[in-house]
């Protein structure tokens, strides 16, 4: 008999805790349901319809997806988006070298860290505008600097061959500081005794780098690769500002730019949504791989 009121009190306390906790998490959960989950489900539905955004969506089965498969612009936009991702490995190598340099015990590292990080925090819209002018064939900074060393630069953003590399160079410039910072943090967390032990065993600088530094940096590298791929697959702002028409011969149109164009300029909402579902699936697969490999590498460390 004595245990009963006690248990009852406990369960009221627990119920109060449950209700309060529910209240605290309710807001983000509702936000998720209204602004993410519902639009997501609706997107899948709409991708099977013909829809101009004004009248009701009309179901057409798989037609959008069939059209996508034979849409040369879709494939070119996909190809452009993929091409522009070559900046990812280049940026990673450069940022690792930078981090190694900044990890040395010497003066000025804090200053340089700040300098290289400034483009990261700068507004991408403003940065895209200034690079658009910098790439201008007549009055741009880039070609005038190239002329100083005797190179006649192309008219970057008007040239089907050079428009994509121009955007890649800008993206590397913009993102370098971010991966540099993550690499630097990872380098500083490598236990010193590993290097000392390796030095005693007679391992030189290069072997220490190859067999200690590189493996210890693997989680960060993986994180950077995946987030860059996810970010890179959604490249839009640079394209929209620097080459508003998708570039010469459609050479810079990215997949998100093409989706945006179809949805908001041509009112082909159903078709655009179907493409966005394909994009979502691709991103999902890449992210799922990340979680899988991340989990495996965590196990191997522990």
């Amino acid at each position: 008999m004595a245990a009963l009121p006690h248990a009852a009190r406990r369960s009221t306390l627990h119920r109060r805790e449950h209700l309060t906790a529910l209240g605290f998490i309710a807001v983000p959960v509702i936000g998720f349901l209204v602004f993410v989950a519902f639009p997501m489900v609706y997107a899948v539905y709409v991708s099977f319809t013909k829809w101009n955004g004004l009248t009701d969506p009309r179901p057409i089965g798989l037609q959008n997806y069939i059209d996508i498969a034979s849409d040369p612009y879709f494939w070119q936009a996909m190809g452009n988006t993929l091409f522009m991702m070559i900046g990812i490995p280049i940026g990673l190598v450069l940022s690792l070298l930078l981090a190694l340099a900044l990890n040395r015990r010497m003066r000025g590292t804090t200053f340089f860290r700040t300098v290289y990080y400034v483009p990261v925090i700068s507004s991408l819209a403003a940065v895209a505008i200034l690079w658009q002018l910098a790439y201008n064939g007549d009055v741009g900074l880039v070609n005038h600097l190239l002329a100083l060393v005797g190179i006649e630069g192309p008219n970057w953003l008007q040239d089907p061959l050079w428009a994509k590399p121009a955007i890649v160079i800008m993206a590397i410039w913009k993102g370098l500081g971010f991966s540099m910072l993550l690499y630097l943090a990872a380098l500083q967390s490598v236990p010193r005794h590993l290097y000392e032990a390796a030095a005693i065993d007679g391992a030189g600088a290069f072997r220490q780098f190859r067999y200690i530094t590189i493996p210890m940096l693997r989680p960060v590298t993986f994180f950077l690769v995946i987030t860059s791929i996810i970010g890179g697959s959604q490249i839009f702002i640079e394209i929209n500002i620097m080459t508003p028409t998708g570039g010469p011969e459609f050479s810079t149109a990215s997949i998100v730019w093409y989706i945006w164009q179809k949805a908001f300029n041509y009112s082909q909402m159903g078709y655009a949504t179907a493409m966005s579902v394909v994009l979502g699936l691709l991103v999902f697969v890449v992210t799922a791989i990340q979680f899988q490999i991340n989990r495996r590498s965590q196990f191997s460390i522990e």
Binding site: A21, P28, A101, V115, S123, Q132, L182, Q234, I237, T287
Partner: protein, 314 residues
């Protein structure tokens, strides 16, 4: 090693002969060895510094060039793009740009969106992180994982239905589509604050509960002070992300007076590029760059540390 070291010294160095010379000799050889090593180290440092400086110039030059172009006359920008210090300096461009476009409205709109989203959203996220980390609730880990999965959904995939939702509510061309979703918190922020709360011991919460404190009081008096640095860091990062956002604003906002700063300068860019009035465009871009640069200058340490932490936890 340390234990038998005195023994070794005693056997190697005879008590009297050359006890004054030996150490000096040893010292000098050691000195020259260390000397050549530090000299090599110093030489490498000089080379590395030079390379870093050259790279640093590449990083900063476009921004300096923006400032310098924004202070040139229209013809000077066309004829002499490499003139770094404009002569004469045309402050006039900043006055012209201010009257040519609704820049003030753009700044105001950007402030309204980023301040309301980050302040309300941060409070919501912190409370949710507290509940996820420290409170008992059935299925809370499952719910958390479901929220986390939402990060995987790219915005372009849901932007069209979201646009239609706000369009049906008559909210297109208002700031609400940019504000409303943010008010419900930020999953990335919840994730990091929840991680950070692991460092707060459960015992202090239990103790406060025994004293009869409610959960909201526990949060304001115990949790919030304990995780304030993490909240500050995430707040700054989020603020800059909202301030610099472009895709959603460009979809929702059409009327110039209602656009955020980023859209205003982009519109401005496409309007004035045909007139080749580059100083004006650069002035607008530079104005858009200033607020975040100032925030960065002030909160540099917090920003850099929280980004580094992001990588460690990611």
């Amino acid at each position: 090693m340390t234990l038998d070291a005195p023994d070794t010294v005693a056997t190697i160095i005879p008590p009297r002969t050359g006890s004054a010379r030996r150490p000096r000799l040893a010292d000098t050889t050691l000195d020259t060895q260390v000397g050549s090593r530090t000299r090599r180290h110093r030489l490498t440092n000089v080379i590395v510094t030079i390379v870093l400086a050259l790279g640093g110039i590449v990083m900063i030059a476009p921004l300096v060039w923006t400032l310098s172009t924004s202070l040139k006359s229209k013809s000077a920008a066309l004829t002499d793009p490499l003139q770094w210090i404009p002569n004469p300096i045309q402050w006039d461009n900043y006055i012209r740009v201010w009257s040519a476009e609704p820049l003030a409205a753009g700044i105001m709109n950007s402030i309204i969106v980023s301040v309301s989203v980050t302040i309300v959203g941060t409070a919501v996220s912190a409370l949710a992180a507290f509940a996820f980390a420290k409170m008992r609730l059935p299925f809370k880990n499952g719910i958390f994982l479901a929220l986390l999965a939402a990060i995987m959904i790219p915005f372009p995939t849901i932007m069209i239905p979201q646009f239609m939702m706000f369009s049906n509510l008559g909210l297109v061309d208002t700031l609400w589509p940019l504000i409303l979703p943010g008010l419900f918190g930020n999953i990335v922020m919840i994730f990091f604050l929840r991680q950070f709360l692991d460092t707060v011991p459960d015992s202090i919460i239990e103790a406060a509960k025994l004293d009869g404190a409610g959960y909201l009081r526990i949060f304001t008096t115990l949790i919030f002070p304990a995780i304030r640095p993490a909240i500050a860091a995430q707040f700054i990062l989020w603020f800059m992300a909202v301030w610099n956002d472009y895709l959603a604003p460009v979809i929702y906002l059409n009327t110039p007076e209602k656009q955020t700063l980023q859209v205003v300068i982009a519109t401005f860019n496409s309007t004035y590029a045909t007139q080749r009035d580059y100083p004006l465009i650069m002035a607008a871009s530079f104005i858009a760059l200033i607020p975040v640069l100032v925030v960065f200058a002030v909160f540099q340490r917090q920003i850099i540390e929280s980004v580094a932490l992001t990588g460690a936890k990611g």
